[in-house]
């Protein structure tokens, strides 16, 4: 039993890898088989994520007494071999990515996985990269998993082809390749100075460096940070993001919403392990603030819903980075809560965008690059007039009140993005603001807190204006719009994500206290370091036996 639990940590990586590989060998016609495999795989990941959440919590102290689980790959002890480490934050991230993956896979079944390219296979590899990045305890291994998820995302972004999409992909790939090179340079510098890439080992060695060695080490860490910030979409390194995210087909951009969070996770993880100093944190704060402000301005200027959602993603990344840069330890819990809400919201919103785009069928000029399935795809695969639309009419169940559903979901997403009650966007933002205020001494609130305060409120207001405007155009100007036919398979994931958000409001107390404990363990890297370095050290395979 215990042995089985020990191997639980590696499952979120192995399961999608095997599934994705097996799917490549299935013939094009075995669609049911592929869909079943994909669903089973994400369900397993979800279960494992939930199990990890439980096992790392205080409720189950019998496996990993300090809430940190270590899995040494190939049984090589920690500083020499690569380890996978699960603590509360990793468990939260794995579960979150599995939830988004499940919603995306279900959504994609409706119509997006039909022609040509192996959507499900690439998607499984994407989840493998995500889970691996969340679980690894080694910097170079983090690079490898970043590349895995990026390689899969290149393929997914190209889905649907069309000149616009290929152009966006070219920009996206170029930026990410350059970022990967920065990542490598940072990793190499850190290795040269510290002589290790194991994160737990680094924490100890970094403290012993001094003088010029320390300066070079810090330079390496800063270069690494730049690479992470490019992935996290921080200003001024985020101009690639709206172009790529708004042009991808809906389920793909929904999954991409999770990808920016990998950059943030890496910043959180490496930042707390290396105990980054005042200057770096301040830089993070100002970059976050700039991201937030530029994102909010761009939201006001955006005309198309998909771009608007991409900018709202940037705003949320800005809030997260700025909050982390404030260097208030109590703020990390709310940061994670806000991140969860933001991921769920953005995914739901991107999926919704895919459906509302269909209301504009009578509006050809704007359809150009937003058309979910441009004709060249069908031509390229020798499929003429692909049966997606007709298929909908034959087998799809048209919801009786499709427009009403879309409108309701749009309102919910707007409430979530802008942070209005009763949805958890409000809870998360309130937690951020009240914690930031509570951490300051009475009568001496630093101006950074005020700036944070003001920009969160103003950006919320800006997004409210922008979203109401787009919403009115979408749902109230009936002319030249058709009521789209929706399938339950498409509508259900969006509704489920919104309902999950609602559940987060109801269960805000327990969730917040769990996340606070996750944040505390993040800020006490000693536990993490001890767990990693002591695991397997004396040939002992099972830890925590009474």
């Amino acid at each position: 039993m215990n042995l089985l639990l020990q191997h639980l940590i590696v499952l979120p990586i192995v399961v999608p890898l095997v599934t994705g590989a097996v799917m490549l060998f299935l013939a094009e016609s075995r669609r049911t088989m592929r869909v079943t495999l994909a669903l089973v795989s994400v369900l397993i990941q979800l279960c494992v994520g939930a199990a990890l959440l439980y096992l790392t919590s205080d409720a189950a102290p019998f496996i990993w007494p300090e809430g940190v689980g270590v899995y040494a790959i190939g049984h090589w002890p920690a500083p020499f071999g690569i380890v996978l480490v699960v603590d509360r934050l990793s468990a939260v991230m794995v579960t979150l990515s599995a939830v988004v993956a499940l919603a995306t896979v279900v959504y994609a079944i409706a119509r997006w996985d039909r022609p040509g390219q192996p959507f499900h296979s690439l998607f499984q590899l994407l989840t493998m990269g995500l889970n691996g990045a969340f679980l690894t305890g080694d910097l170079f291994n983090l690079f490898v998993f970043f590349e895995v998820l990026l390689a899969a995302s290149y393929g997914l972004l190209l889905r649907g082809a069309g000149a616009e999409r290929v152009k966006a992909s070219l920009h996206y790939i170029t930026v990410n390749l350059a970022a990967s090179l920065l990542f490598l340079i940072g990793v190499a510098l850190i290795y040269a100075m510290a002589g290790t890439l194991n994160m737990a080992d680094l924490a100890g060695r970094a403290a012993t460096l001094a003088g010029r060695d320390r300066a070079l080490f810090d330079a390496g860490a800063a270069i690494l940070g730049v690479a992470f910030l490019i992935k996290a979409g921080s200003w001024p390194l985020n101009f690639w993001l709206p172009g790529a995210y708004s042009i991808a087909v809906a389920p793909v951009s929904a999954a991409f919403a999770m990808m920016t969070k990998v950059g943030l996770y890496a910043v959180l993880r490496v930042g707390t392990i290396l105990q980054e100093d005042e200057t770096l944190a301040a830089a993070l704060f100002y970059l976050g603030l700039a991201t937030l402000i530029t994102g909010a301005i761009a939201m006001l200027a955006a005309k198309h819903l998909a771009r608007l959602v991409s900018y709202s993603l940037l705003v949320s990344m800005g809030i997260l980075l700025a909050a982390f840069g404030l260097r208030i330890e109590a703020l990390t819990g709310p940061v994670i809560l806000y991140m969860i809400v933001s991921v769920l919201t953005t995914s739901a919103f991107f999926m919704l965008t895919g459906m509302t785009d269909r209301t504009r069928i009578a509006d050809p000029p704007v359809m150009r690059d937003d058309d979910p399935m441009p004709q060249p795809v069908y031509a390229a695969y020798g499929i003429k007039e692909f049966s997606v639309y007709r298929g909908d009419e034959e087998i799809g169940i048209a919801l009786p009140a499709a427009m009403a559903f879309l409108g309701l979901m749009f309102v919910c997403c707007t409430l979530l993005v802008t942070g209005l009650p009763p949805l958890p966007g409000f809870v998360a933002k309130f937690a951020l603001l009240s914690t930031a205020l509570a951490a300051a001494h009475v009568g001496a609130v630093p101006w950074t807190t005020w700036a944070f305060f003001a920009s969160i409120l103003l950006s919320g207001f800006a997004s409210l204006i922008a979203l109401s405007r787009v919403g009115m155009r979408l749902f109230w100007s009936v002319a030249a719009r058709t009521t789209p036919r929706l399938r339950v398979l498409e509508a259900a994931p969006v509704a489920a994500l919104v309902l999950l958000c609602l559940a987060l409001t109801v269960a805000a107390g327990p969730v917040a206290s769990y996340l606070d404990s996750a944040a505390r363990s993040l800020h006490e890297p000693d536990t993490y370091v001890r767990a990693v370095l002591s695991a397997y050290s004396s040939g002992q395979t099972e830890r925590g036996s009474p």
Binding site: A163, L170, A178, I185, Y191
Partner: protein, 114 residues
């Protein structure tokens, strides 16, 4: 040796960055290729430059670490080369697709208006 190595890296990075900022897709590709060579050499150099030292430890004699080269950067470089090669190949495909779809090799898919 360090000076020559550093100069070579500098030249590679300099040309790579310049090419990366050019407007033609093929120049961008070459820029990325040069940058990735430079990065790989950099990782290799971070294991300290040594001559006549093997990275594989011969356990039959007494082990003195100063007689061996650091094997880790060499392993890292191998991984980085493989990944960089694959992604560059993918970029090449996208580049050709964009050329075919738009009829121009400008990175924005259209010639700038002059």
């Amino acid at each position: 040796m360090e000076i020559v190595y550093a100069l070579a890296l500098g030249i590679l990075v300099g040309s790579g960055v310049w090419l990366l900022l050019r407007p033609r897709t093929f120049q961008v590709l070459m820029g990325l290729a040069l940058l990735s060579y430079a990065t790989n050499l950099f990782i290799f150099g971070m294991g300290r430059l040594t001559v006549h030292k093997v990275p594989v430890i011969d356990a039959s004699n007494s082990v003195d670490p100063s007689l061996y080269a650091d094997p880790v950067p060499q392993a890292l470089v191998l991984t980085a080369i493989v990944i960089g090669f694959a992604t560059t190949a993918l970029l090449l495909v996208v580049l050709l697709a964009l050329r075919g779809l738009t009829g121009t090799d400008h990175v924005d898919g259209a010639e700038p208006d002059r």
